[in-house]
Amino acid sequence: MNSNSETKIYIFYCVNAFDQGVFSPPRTKVAYFPQDLKMACSSMIKDIYLLKAFECGADGVMVVGCPAGKCKRVDGNVRAAKRVARVQQLLDEIGLGGKRLVYSTADDMETAAADLVKQLGELGPRK
C-alpha cells in the first residue's frame, strides 16, 4: 500500500442486509474493493476466511451485517461482530493490527469504510 488510492479492502457482506440483496461497495474514492464476498448470513464468517483475505493481500477487511435486531436468523449479526472482535485480537497478536478489520452494519457501511481507510492510512503499508 503506497498511497490511499491503492488501499485494497475486501468486504464480506450479508445478502439480507441490502434491498433485494443488491450490494454496491462504499463510495469512497481512496480505496478499491477487489473482492465482495456474499454470504447468506454474516454469522457464516469464519476466522480463517478473514485471515485468508489478509494472506491474499488485503490491506483491510470489512464484514457487513444487518442492523441490530433485524437479522433474519435472529442473532447472526451479533455472532459475526463477536467473531470479528476475536480476529481483531488475533491480528494484534500477529502484529498486523486489529484495526485493519472492522464490523459494520449495512446502514453504517459508508462511515465505517471511510473510518477504515483513514485507519489504514495511519497504520501505514503492510509488511
Binding site: K46, I48, L51, E55, E93, L96, K127
Partner: protein, 222 residues
Amino acid sequence: MIVAKQKPIAEIKEMLRPYDKVLILGCGTCVKTCFAGGEDEVATLGAALRLAFSQDGKTIHTEELTVERQCEDAFIQEAAQAVSRNEAVLSLACGAGVQAMARRFAGASLLPGVNTTFIGVLEKPGLFTEECSGCGDCELDTFGGICPVTRCSKRLLNGPCGGSKNGKCEVSPDIDCAWQLIIDRLTLLGQAGNLKRYIPAKDWRLSLSGGPRRLVREDHVI
C-alpha cells in the same frame, strides 16, 4: 472431555523459530469441541502463523492435518507421511496426544500448541467448566452427582465451609458453591441423609500423589 486453550501466537512463534516446514496437527475429539485444536483451529492457526512470520520477513511452510484422536495409535498412523515431510509437528492435542505422538514418532520434534487445562463439560455455548479432577476414587453417588473434590474451591468433603453467599463461593461470585448444589440436589432426590455420612480423609495416593497412574486390563493384554 479434556478442555484446552490455544497458546499465545508469540509463544508458538518462539517454539517454531528454528523450523521452516511445520505440520500443524489437529485432534478431532476433545480439543475440537472446545475450539482449541480441530480443523477450523488448525486452519486459522496456520494462516495466523504464516502472517505472523511474514511480519518478520520469514516464510514458514505449513501443512495442515487433523486426525480423529492423537491419543490413539490407530489414528496417529494417518499422520505418518505428513510427519515425515516436515521438520517439526505443532500438535494441537492435549498433553496425552502430544506424548502419544512423541512415542510413535521418536525422531520428530513435537511441540505443544495448546495448554491442557482441565476435564470439563460444555455448560452453555462458549462456557466450559471443570467437573472432574481424575482423583481415582469417585464418590459422586454420595454427593448427588456433584463433585466437591473439583467444584468446591476448598475441596471439602464433609459439608460447606460457611463462606458462601447466595449460593456463590466466597472465592469468586462466578463460582457456584458446590455444597449448595449438593444439598439442593440431594434434597430433590430425597437423599439428604447422605449429608450425615462421615467421609474419611481422601486417599490421594490414587491421584497424582501416587506418581503416574496406570490402568491394566488383563483381559485385553496379549
